[in-house]
């Protein structure tokens, strides 16, 4: 009888452990900010509604960014960004799909790792290495980091008159707080 109870107890423990390991984590309101620094003008915009999924069991990270949800200080910057540079009507989203290199699921401390993946913007896909810090929280994970994007890689055309105002290299920072994804 005792053996029978032990088997049931162990099987429950195993199933709980397996389900928690295979769970996906979701962030519906991740933050992505980009900066363009030039001597003429500094431009910054933040998007607080970025979607991301993280599977710690496979180390995979997926991000989807709605380009129109970037908020600028000035209305004209928002118009130029969506209508001229990004053409948000034609290319409403940017995406990233990648895998964390050397992620240790059993490590409860912060891990700084490279996420190797593909970033797609305006139908142009380029491989990128993103330096990120992954931290385990009470009910999920936090992933934050930075990457640099070259505008020439993504078919972003800046009119010659405005080229001194827009940096060729855009600095992007991100912060995602993941919670368990209950589908």
């Amino acid at each position: 009888m005792n053996k029978f109870l032990l088997v049931i107890f162990l099987s429950i423990c195993t199933s709980v452990t397996v389900s928690s390991q295979t769970a996906e984590f979701i962030e519906r309101q991740g933050q992505v900010t980009f900066f363009s620094y030039t001597s003429v003008e500094n431009i910054q915009a933040t998007n607080n509604q970025v979607l991301s999924l993280f599977n710690p069991n496979t180390d995979e990270v997926a991000v989807s960014i709605l380009m129109r949800a970037f908020v600028f200080k000035k209305s004209l910057m928002h118009e130029h960004f969506n209508e001229s540079y990004i053409e948000s009507d034609l290319y409403p989203k940017a995406t990233f799909n990648g895998k964390i290199v050397g992620f240790d699921l059993t490590n409860d401390e912060s891990q700084t790792r490279i996420i190797k993946g593909d970033f797609t913007l305006k139908d142009s896909t380029k491989p990128v290495d993103v330096k990120a810090t992954i931290t385990k929280t009470n009910d999920g994970y936090t992933i934050s980091g930075t990457l640099d994007i070259m505008i020439d890689d993504y078919n972003i055309k800046v009119p010659p008159l405005l080229s001194p105002n827009i940096s060729k290299k855009i600095e992007v920072t991100f912060n995602f707080n993941y919670a368990p994804y209950e589908k």
């Binding site: 519906r28 933050q31 607080n48 509604q49 979607l51 949800a69 000035k74 209305s75 004209l76």
Partner: protein, 138 residues
Amino acid sequence: MKLKKRHKIIFVFSLIGICLFLLYVYVNRGIADTITIQAEETFTTTELLSKFDDTQEKLEDFIEKAIEIEGEIKEITFQDGKYSLILKGDSDISYILCEMQANQTPDVLKLHAGQDIKLKGILKGFLLDIILLHCVII
């Protein structure tokens, strides 16, 4: 004769000054207050989410336009100095994410999850959820 010429010069410089001022105001204008924008359509959260599930084509027409939305608050979140209300419909797969306009903070602090609310916001598009920015309570 000299007086006339001087008047002309003053007039031209004044005109240039006014044009530069108007250009400065135009270039540096902020984001419009949603309170002053006329809503194109009113939806309940269930109606909006079911339209989103059926076909996104119908909602594409409302992108960058103000819409009114009525439904239940699932959650209130705070990030980067801004509050967002997450509204729910019948489904637990997709929600409506409404990032509030900064001047709405005192009113948002009085709200709680489970409460019904009517908002006006600018529809920005869709990911897994429907996203509205610059939302105001109406």
